[in-house]
């Protein structure tokens, strides 16, 4: 690879969007070419600084109310369709008159019975289905994540140093959660927090990804804990669950799913295996 090609691909490399082989080729060129390496480092730190300084215009509260009320007006003004048309035609219109009318009424009775049964099923079923334990946990996790961002209580111990956060958590909990800083992977550690989930005290590790936060909840795994990673998307939040031999992990964030997967991989790579 020459300098011109490397310059062309620099932004893709900076954003981690190149395929592994091209990335390796670039890395090799940067090791060999001092000028390109310097240019890459300058460009990278400048872009990160700009990204951090770019204002993010959050939606004002009034807009939310305005939108919710306009959505309600929207469903109110939508005319209720003529109900009779919703019944499937019993017979093609041309034949209708020639058929004895008693028969359609029996058909209607049957149709009505079916609709009635459907309505009953439809109304009762949701009440009969109890939310799965994962769903209930997901609700708790999202609530905890949202609350941590809302109440200015993101961290109990704010430090990007894993050697500060870990001892603090170890002292407060009856287990020692793994704590790693992933700054070099693009997920700087912001701090740690105590939380209460699933009827127990848990550790919440807070990471930042660009302007978004990731809450990673950790607590000891039950012996029969499911090992397969699992993703849930709810209310616009991404939840990613995995477990190793010692711990349950739930990562909750509004970052995109790929970022959360990357986060999990990097976390696992950096966690000492037991």
């Amino acid at each position: 690879m020459n300098c011109e090609e490397a310059t062309k691909l620099m932004d893709g490399y900076l954003d981690g969007e190149l395929d592994p082989i091209t990335s390796q080729t670039i890395e090799q060129h940067l090791r060999e070419c001092h000028n390109c390496d310097q240019a890459y480092k300058t460009h990278g730190s400048l872009i990160r600084a700009i990204g951090n300084a770019t204002p993010y215009f959050k939606a004002p509260a009034a807009l939310r109310e305005r939108i919710q009320s306009s959505l309600r007006q929207e469903i109110a003004k939508e005319p209720v369709r003529n109900v009779v048309e919703d019944f499937p035609p019993l017979f093609p219109t041309g034949q209708r008159r020639t058929v004895p009318s008693v028969i359609p009424w029996n058909w209607l009775a049957l149709a009505a019975a079916i609709i009635f049964a459907a309505i009953i099923t439809f109304n009762l079923m949701p009440r009969l289905q109890r939310p799965g334990s994962d769903q209930f946990l997901a609700t708790q996790l999202i609530a905890s994540h949202a609350r941590s961002l809302m109440a200015n209580h993101l961290t109990d111990v704010a430090s990007s140093d894993q050697h500060t956060v870990k001892p603090w958590l170890d002292a407060k909990l009856d287990f020692a959660p793994p704590v790693v800083d992933l700054s070099s992977e693009g997920f700087p550690l912001i701090g740690g927090r105590l939380d209460y989930l699933d009827n127990r005290a848990v550790a919440a590790l807070v990471y930042e990804r660009r302007k978004h936060f990731i809450n990673l909840f950790v607590w000891p795994a039950a012996s029969e804990a499911a090992k397969a990673p699992k993703t849930i998307t709810r209310q616009g939040y991404q939840l990613l669950h995995w477990a190793d031999s010692d711990f349950n992990y739930w990562a909750v964030s509004d970052v995109n799913p790929n970022d959360l997967q990357t986060f999990k991989q990097q976390f696992e790579v950096r966690t000492p295996h037991h």
Partner: protein
Amino acid sequence: MAAPLKADYAFDTEDLESSAKIVKFAVLKKHQEQDAAQERELASFEETMLPHMDAAHNLAKWLLRDEEDARDVVQEAYLRAFKSFGGFYGSNGRAWLLTIVRNTSYTLLKKNRAVDLTTTFDEEIHASGHESVSPATLLERSEDADLVREAMDKLPVDFREILVLRHLEGLSYNEIADIAQIPPGTVMSRLARARGKLKECLAARIGKEK
């Protein structure tokens, strides 16, 4: 409709009358059922889409550079999204909503025949001696939010768009390609050009201050 029919065939059996009642009841229930279905759809829509309102507003504000226009566009985009929500089966609600916000914003920009859609910043850059700004000064001053905002506002709309989607929303190149409706292969080159222009704009503004 049921009443005259029933009168015509009043000589019929008891079964017939009861079935007519059931039909009426079912019709009533169906009205309520429709209302309830709409309520459920709205609740599901709000649960999926309201969390992305900050992202929607942020993008609209950057594209339109006007708070009132941005609010109007976000509201309009939510209404449009709700109407086509039945066709949304994906998991990436944010990207879907941002696509609608983006299209709605462009419609408004075109309607206002904004000069915005063409490049307007070149004279300013060429007029000043930004070559004299050192990388260290540039880096230091790029932490100044007001300065970055002024420089961003000078960029053409497609550059502002791609910078916001990448730097503020952290979207992948594929997601950006979907939202900005460009081939995935051109995302990197456009982003590189946008960053280059942004650097020039920043340097130009810093150069001017001296």
